[in-house]
Symmetry: C2
Subunit: 225 residues, 2 copies
């Protein structure tokens, strides 16, 4: 899950459905991960791809000097664990209870085994590339306000529940996860959230739950194209 525009997510949804459909043909391997447990760590041999069914995963990397980056959040429908060479180059842990479908790495090694699934995975990888390109713009060319507005909008579109006319959803990650995802300091995330609340753009009643009160204004702030 990156901060991208809604179009990409419609793609993602249909792809997720298609992937699930393929799984029904053959025995499904499902794995459950408890909060805080790792699906894989940097350096682990990449043996599987994971399709998130429920819950939220966190993909992170650490620079030598300790600076951390949250590369992506894995929401239902996302494919996590594309390897580079033989190994994973990031840590992946669960920030909620998570359930994933497991696709053996062999699917990637030989297209003939399951050509349709193979093709779907390739499409998913290319969608990922496009989404990451969008994320580049977010990281490099947007102000903190724009970054957070985009982030909230994307989450709203993906997992928001319409309640009394407003989109409402959980923020299962902590503030510093959001900060490290958007390449911003946690303090700044806090400040912008406060600012949004004072301007009645969002409401945060419980600390991990957000209501989008004024989606129009968020869209303006996000300056999405």
């Amino acid at each position: 899950m990156y901060v991208t525009n809604p179009i990409d997510f419609r793609h993602a949804d249909t792809a997720a459905l298609s992937l699930a459909k393929h799984q029904q043909i053959q025995p499904q391997k499902v794995r459950d991960i408890a909060v805080g447990n790792f699906l894989f760590r940097e350096g682990d041999k990449a043996q599987n791809l994971f399709e998130v069914q429920s819950g939220v995963l966190r993909l992170t990397r650490v620079l030598a000097n300790g600076r951390r980056q949250v590369i992506a959040f894995g929401y239902p429908g996302d494919i996590i664990g594309f390897p580079d060479g033989d190994n994973h180059h990031a840590d992946c842990d669960a920030i909620t209870e998570v359930s994933v479908l497991v696709h053996g790495h062999a699917v990637l090694d030989d297209a003939r085994l399951q050509p349709e699934l193979h093709k779907k995975l390739l499409k998913a990888a290319m969608r990922e590339i496009s989404a990451m390109q969008d994320h580049f713009m977010t990281l490099g060319r947007k102000s903190v306000t724009e970054k957070l507005a985009s982030f909230l909008l994307v989450l709203g579109d993906r997992v928001g529940e319409p309640l009394s006319g407003n989109l409402e959803f959980d923020l299962p990650m902590c503030r510093s996860d959001i900060a490290d995802f958007l390449c911003v300091s946690p303090e700044t995330v806090s400040r912008i959230f406060t600012q949004f609340r004072k301007r009645k753009i969002i409401a945060i009643n419980q600390i991990k739950r957000v209501v989008l009160l004024d989606r129009e204004q968020l869209l303006e702030l996000a300056e999405m194209d």
Copy 2:
């Protein structure tokens, strides 16, 4: 071409060779692009993948408000043009004379046509994902000095020619391309280059040609892990 660590590039080189090998089995389609001409534009139907043989491509996107992002530079060995859905979501033009191998989009659509090539493209896409993840760190968590040091080191490793003990290479892109690639202002790029020159870390005799005088110090400045 992203700003990543050297390990990724060794992968890229071997993959490029493998791809070329596959091409020899079947008739090769080659296309030449003159400086300034476009290989494809945002919104174009994505019909082909391109493998750069020689020259340098530039992949760009523009935000609604005019802010521009250089997503990547396409150097020999790079695969450019992974589609998202049916269309390209970025512009791609040539900043030098360019020659590319053309792989029909159909290769992606049906793994059975050319399973080995298909698999190679998938691997290339996944390498791309990993390289982009590294680039996230560069964009979001590095100072301008670190960004430029990383950029010069990567280019040196990829296209540097050893001349009298130092790596030397062309910078075919203009300063503002570098700026938009690293998400920095052109003025700042200029300032850092000047700083590097004054500290005898690099030499810029012709404006588009760089000599790495002190690679060790560049490595320290880049703070790569």
